[in-house]
């Protein structure tokens, strides 16, 4: 993985210096963040279609909040402030698995259950965070909470490569089966689908991709990128093909535009915030298009 990075980077730098690519790409952090955006965009957009189909938007929000707690735990355990991956991964995975385990074992409705988990996680996170901020500079935390392209380093990219690879593999392999199990679990089981296993696998996918996106989008906002592009895509598409590819495209565009514009205009905003604002713009635009199509059916095929 390191070698992938090391082999691409010099080439891009040379191209940037000789004017083939935008000049800012010769800076490592710009290069890093754009690579991250180009990987994260499609993966988050694709998984987002599953999140929306399975009606788990709220669920993924809870995992995003768990990331916040994970960061807090990492700092207290003495991991690096900027990339406390061990704590992040362990806490979020335990959290996600516990949530789905409890859901499968109790008669509680899912939204009540998620609300409980979400609040517990926030409470723990808030306590630990306030405790640790007495010791460290608070602004270090901003990066993890809201994303910052300045701090994306080689380690982050490598984590992102590996996690995305796993998610793409599982996502493509099990996409149909995951959708079917949410449509009717009994029918899915008759057809030999391991419904419970796929439940866990999907939450695991959402969890690890959330953790991998923390640096660039931030713990608080990752989940927006799982939901908003898919919702925008749903506005435009009539079939699963459009749904998936529009979602991946909107998500990727949001990431790239959200990184490039603030950088070019030198506006000091967190990358996560900018990315989500771009995504929100796409949502507004597609909603408008949908309304127009309703009013004037002749516009049907845009």
């Amino acid at each position: 993985m390191v070698s992938i990075y090391n082999s691409i980077m010099p080439v891009v730098q040379r191209l940037a210096e000789s004017g083939w690519l935008p000049e800012s790409l010769k800076y490592a952090f710009v290069f890093n963040s754009l690579v991250a955006a180009l990987i994260l965009g499609p993966v988050l957009g694709g998984i987002g279609t599953l999140v929306v189909t399975k009606r788990l938007a709220f669920f993924s929000q809870a995992i995003g909040n768990a990331a916040l707690t994970g960061v807090a735990i990492g700092i207290i355990l003495g991991e690096s402030y900027t990339s406390p991956y061990v704590s992040l991964f362990s806490f979020c995975i335990i959290f996600g698995m516990a949530m789905i385990f409890t859901r499968n074992r109790t008669k509680m409705t899912t939204d009540t259950l998620i609300a409980i988990f979400l609040c517990i996680s926030l409470a723990v996170g808030a306590c630990i965070l306030l405790y640790v901020t007495a010791k460290v500079n608070v602004h270090v935390l901003d990066n993890v909470l809201f994303g910052s392209i300045l701090t994306v380093n080689e380690l982050d990219l490598n984590v992102l490569f590996v996690i995305s690879f796993i998610c793409i593999l599982c996502g493509l392999g099990f996409y149909n089966r995951m959708v079917l199990s949410s449509f009717n679990p009994n029918l899915a089981r008759v057809r030999g689908i391991k419904v419970i296993f796929l439940d866990y696998l999907f939450i695991l996918m959402v969890t690890i991709i959330t953790v991998a996106s923390v640096k660039i989008i931030g713990a608080i906002l990752v989940e927006a990128l799982l939901v908003i592009p898919a919702a925008s895509a749903r506005n435009l598409s009539r079939s699963m093909r459009g749904f998936f590819f529009y979602s991946a495209a909107f998500s990727t565009l949001s990431c790239v535009i959200g990184i490039v514009i603030p950088m070019e205009l030198e506006i000091p905003v967190p990358s996560g915030g900018a990315i989500i604002l771009v995504a929100a713009f796409f949502f507004a635009a597609t909603t408008a298009i949908r309304q127009l199509r309703r009013a004037y059916p002749a516009l049907g095929k845009i």
């Binding site: 057809r191 079939s239 699963m240 749904f243």
Partner: protein
């Protein structure tokens, strides 16, 4: 019956022995015993909440039931299942074709439908007269159209045992004819069918055997034997009082 030179039934026989089911301390089924003969079209009737769906799920091995359910398998027996409902967000952009593709293949439906499944899907949809609506969204289908798609799904791959959970509900006369015709074809092929059906007229016409379930077996036998006015009246009058008591 004219059994001289008939093929042996391709479907299995099923034997329910003292089947019981308790969910969250409520007894849903108790001492249910009856037999479905191989190649029979066996209807289950009974009041709402009587436990028909639960019994079918027990048969499919998806309920923690007690007692014994023996399916007399031959190797490679395929089960088709038509569920009562699909639970999905009706605004989702999933077309009938997308749905059928997801049933058939593992390659994501958003990429494409593999060539070898295209004809299979098209044929199954044509059987239920839904081939012209293959590009409709699932959410835009009427209740009856949805049922027909669910029926088509159960025909891929061709089943030896077909389990239908009220495919007639919400279906109009034409839709009912479509399904009756397919069921007659399946009957000729000696597929074993277990069909939850509320339409007593249809049961009288088509069923080889009928069992009425209301927690227990109220009666079981051929339609001529058991579907007497008196018995049916008893079963469903018990129902009315029960339903009133159950619903607040």
């Amino acid at each position: 019956m004219l059994t001289k030179n008939e093929d042996p039934p391709r479907g299995p026989s099923i034997c329910f022995e003292m089947v019981g089911l308790c969910l969250s301390n409520i007894t849903i089924l108790q001492d249910v015993s009856f037999t479905v003969k191989a190649g029979d079209m066996h209807c289950l009737i009974g009041p709402n909440g009587g436990g028909k769906t639960s019994l079918i799920l027990s048969l499919l091995g998806q309920m923690p039931h007690t007692g014994r359910i023996a399916i007399n398998w031959t190797d490679g027996t395929t089960i088709g299942y038509v569920p009562q409902v699909l639970d999905f967000d009706r605004t989702l952009p999933v077309t009938v074709n997308n749905f059928m593709t997801m049933i058939c293949q593992n390659m994501p439906a958003f990429i494409r439908t593999k060539k070898r499944y295209k004809d299979i899907i098209n044929n199954a949809l044509r059987l239920v007269s839904m081939d012209t609506k293959a590009e409709r969204r699932l959410g835009e289908l009427s209740g009856g159209e949805m049922q027909r798609v669910l029926f088509a799904q159960a025909l891929i791959p061709f089943p030896d045992l077909l389990i239908l959970d009220e495919p007639g509900a919400g279906i109009d006369r034409i839709g009912a004819r479509v399904i009756e015709e397919i069921i007659l074809v399946l009957k000729k092929q000696k597929v074993t069918m277990v069909w939850i059906n509320h339409d007593l007229k249809q049961v009288r016409q088509m069923a080889d055997a009928v069992t009425c379930i209301h927690k227990q077996v109220l009666f079981s036998g051929t339609p001529e034997e058991v579907l007497t006015t008196e018995k049916v009246f008893q079963a469903f009058s018990a129902t009315t009082t029960n339903v009133r008591r159950d619903s607040p």
